[in-house]
């Protein structure tokens, strides 16, 4: 499965962003993914939600209207019923007045008119509750009701006209008896018409009420349906989203692993099947360390242990994990400590398969290595030839030219051997014999462009393991080169040395303008983490090479400010690389291989026995003035070998 570079970059930046998020690696990852799902869900629910809102509004509106109508129709029925009573009262009032009794037919006549007028034309009537409030009644709309009411009104008019005539004529009037009869008939008719009207109104009200109820039931049912639809959709969307996330986790080539602080796997994403051929369920409860290549186990343990102690921190990790079939897969992992997140409670590892990249890197490294090895062979032969020529050359001018060639070839060899280091192929020349440390320092100086500015002062008579000699020489050469190129051509660069409690420190001081704090920190970071290769390598390749070389042999290199302005590079050679040169006199000619070899590395204990005082740290020492004014500590070193200018 080959991934396109852009996808690669995208994935890388995504993981980086997650890593940069820091505090909640997976916590952030999980809610981020379903955002797409949320959007889709919103679109699908788009039509349901307005429908639901309309339905609910309609139900509420209808309810309000139904209550109002109910109230109104009660009033109307009440009003119609009252009218009958009023008509009766008017008739009685008229007859009473005609019979000479006290009554007020005028007023009750008006009262008779009022309900009909209100029912027909709308208006306000006293509320039946009797609290003095008035209720508005709309004009009757139904034509049947209106006809009855208009008939009612005509009859009332006639009733009142008849009543007026009776009142005017009195009992003496000739048509008194006919009038009274007419009045009674009209009254009875009115009663009947009012009844009809009331019945009509009641029927209408009932019909509209039952219509309301039906509509309400329908609306309610619709709402229930809409709510059900919403529920179903939500459920489906949720399931879809979960499936989508699960398939993302399952099908992504990345692994998500959660580790308990003791290194046991507490969660493993199923994509482990693809990457390592193992079932996720089988891995839960086992220790991650069991899968890690034995060579990487120490580094992984160190990184994870450090991470466990820092909640919220993130670390990058590269190692090999074992496939079910026994092969090893190169992986890169971003680990985040989410122990303080109760939902995770552990270390979250985002593991990515980089086997292909590792293979590519290896093949490029091999290519580089092969090319460099060939060049190295050629340069070696060139140097041998130059050696021969120099040996027989007496003429100073021609020797000078040969020296220039020699110097160029030596620098070329250094570059070529650095390339071999950068290629990452761990196959170096094996020199079995130990080498005097001074020779190593001088070899380093020979590899520097501006070697004549370099002064070697007071390097003790020690030997360095032959395995490390070339690497240490190149390492020193890079540092000296750095010192000469960042200081004025008129100043000297000094290389000096001194024993410490756990090895030997070489110090390279320049008198240049120095580095800013940020540059110094960056250089030290690069020295400390040589594996973090990046684009800036070409710019700071020297430090990168130094870091690589130092890491190979457990050498520690640090840059620091000098009090007089330049930069001092401290190189701590561990005791295991060192041996004492023994009783070999300083002035002896170079001896053949084998004579100086110390069979096993001589540790500091021996050096201390011969008079060295272990010191916690080497102070800045100036060797501009030679031996006589040197402190007691170096005089005491004479047993093991005395500093030689």
């Amino acid at each position: 499965m080959r991934r396109s570079p852009s996808a690669e970059v995208g994935a890388a930046s995504a993981t980086q962003r997650t890593a940069a998020g820091g505090r909640s690696g997976i916590g952030r990852l999980v809610p981020r993914l379903p955002i797409l799902g949320d959007l889709r869900l919103g679109r699908r629910l788009g039509w349901v939600i307005p429908v639901l809102i309309v339905l609910v509004t309609a139900i509420v509106g209808y309810n309000a209207r139904a209550i109002a109508q109910q109230r109104g129709s009660a009033l109307i029925v009440n009003t119609a019923a009252r009218q009958r009573a009023l008509v009766e009262r008017y008739t009685k009032d008229v007859l009473l007045v005609v019979d000479g009794f006290q009554a007020d037919p005028e007023e009750s006549g008006e009262a008779v008119r009022q309900p009909v007028n209100v029912l027909l034309d709308g208006g306000s009537v006293r509320a039946p509750q009797g609290d003095g409030s008035r209720v508005e009644i709309p004009p009757a709309r139904d034509w049947k009701v209106r006809r009855k009411l208009e008939q009612d009104r005509r009859l009332i008019d006639e009733l009142i006209r008849t009543g007026d005539r009776l009142l005017d004529g009195g009992r003496a009037a000739p048509d008194y008896a006919a009038g009274v009869t007419r009045l009674r008939v009209l009254s009875a008719q009115l009663s009947s018409v009012s009844n009809d009207a009331a019945q009509e109104i009641t029927q209408q009200t009932e019909a509209s009420l039952s219509r309301l109820v039906r509509i309400e039931i329908a609306l309610g049912l619709l709402s229930v349906l809409a709510a059900l639809a919403v529920g179903l959709l939500l459920r489906r969307a949720g399931a879809e989203q979960a499936a989508q996330f699960r398939s993302l986790v399952n099908n992504s080539s990345d692994l998500i692993t959660v580790l308990a602080p003791d290194g046991k796997i507490t969660y493993q994403s199923p994509s482990v099947q693809r990457l390592l051929g193992r079932r996720a369920a089988d891995l839960v409860g086992t220790a991650l360390g069991d899968l890690v290549h034995p060579d990487d186990r120490h580094d992984v343990n160190t990184s994870l242990t450090r991470l466990v102690e820092a909640p919220g921190a993130t670390a990058n990790l590269g190692c090999r994990l074992q496939h079910q079939d026994g092969s090893w897969r190169h992986v890169e992992s971003i680990c985040t400590n989410l122990a303080d997140d109760p939902r995770v409670n552990g270390l979250v590892l985002n593991i990515r398969d980089v086997t292909e990249q590792a293979a590519l890197r290896k093949s490029i490294g091999d290519l580089l290595h092969n090319l460099a090895r060939r060049s190295q062979g050629l340069v070696d032969r060139q140097l041998e030839l130059i050696d021969e020529l120099e040996r027989s050359e007496v003429d100073p001018d021609r020797l000078d030219e040969l020296f220039r060639m020699d110097h160029l070839a030596t620098r070329m060899r250094r570059n070529v051997e650095n390339l071999i280091v950068l290629s990452g192929v761990d196959q170096r020349r094996r020199w079995s014999e130990s080498v005097p440390l001074r020779d190593v320092v001088e070899a380093a100086v020979a590899e520097v462009e501006d070697y004549s500015r370099v002064q070697v002062a007071g390097v003790h008579d020690l030997t360095l393991s032959g395995q490390a000699a070339s690497d240490v020489a190149h390492l020193l050469a890079e540092l000296v080169e750095n010192a000469t190129s960042f200081s004025s051509p008129t100043t000297r660069v000094e290389v000096s040395g001194g024993p410490t409690g756990n090895g030997y420190v070489l110090e390279i001081e320049d008198h240049g303008i120095g580095m800013s704090d940020a540059e110094l920190a960056e250089a030290n970071r690069r020295l400390a983490e040589p594996l973090a290769a990046d684009i800036a390598v070409s710019r700071m390749m020297g430090f990168h090479v130094v870091g690589r070389l130092a890491a190979r042999h457990g050498i520690r290199v640090q840059l620091r400010h000098c009090w007089f302005g330049g930069v001092a590079a401290l190189v701590l050679l561990p005791a295991v690389l060192l041996g004492s040169a023994g009783e070999q006199p300083a002035m002896a000619p170079p001896v053949p291989a084998g004579v100086m070899v110390s069979p096993e590395p001589l540790l500091v204990a021996k050096a201390t026995a011969s008079g060295w005082q272990p010191r916690a740290h080497l102070p800045l020492r100036r060797h501009a003035a030679p031996a006589p004014n040197r402190g007691g500590d170096t005089d005491a070193a004479a047993g093991a070998g005395e500093p030689v200018e």
Binding site: R373, W431, D439, A586, P589, V644
Partner: protein
């Protein structure tokens, strides 16, 4: 070409990696002009305490030249380039660490005493081996 091969040839690391030009800082012309191959060199007696301030080759030469030795012999014994030896010995002579003796027979008047010169050469060769 390989490291093992280099070892088999008997080349030590130091011979491989130390370069002669660093010994003199790149100088090839002796400061002292009376230096021939057969010029004899002897360390000034009682100079030991000054040796500490000298470089490693200088000290080796001073040690070697407690007896009178020729420049060619120094070069051969210390495995130093002739050109380099001449520069160092010249410097040491100027510093007063060694004194130089011109041999009685030089190449110029070789015609007069060829046998003696040849004997000296023979002697020198024996010393080298």
């Amino acid at each position: 070409m390989s490291g093992g091969g280099a070892d088999e040839e008997g080349r030590t690391w130091s011979r491989h990696y130390r370069r002669p030009y660093t010994v003199t800082g790149g100088r090839t012309r002796p400061a002292h002009d009376a230096l021939e191959l057969e010029t004899l060199v002897q360390t000034v007696t009682g100079i030991d305490e000054r040796l500490a301030g000298l470089g490693r080759e200088q000290r080796s030469i001073a040690a070697l030249c407690r007896e009178v030795v020729s420049v060619a012999e120094i070069s051969a014994r210390l495995d130093l380039l002739l050109g380099v030896t001449r520069v160092i010995v010249g410097d040491m002579a100027l510093q007063g660490v060694v004194v130089l003796y011109r041999p009685q027979a030089t190449v110029a008047d070789a015609d007069n005493q060829p046998v003696e010169l040849l004997e000296r050469v023979l002697h020198g060769l024996k010393n080298i081996s």
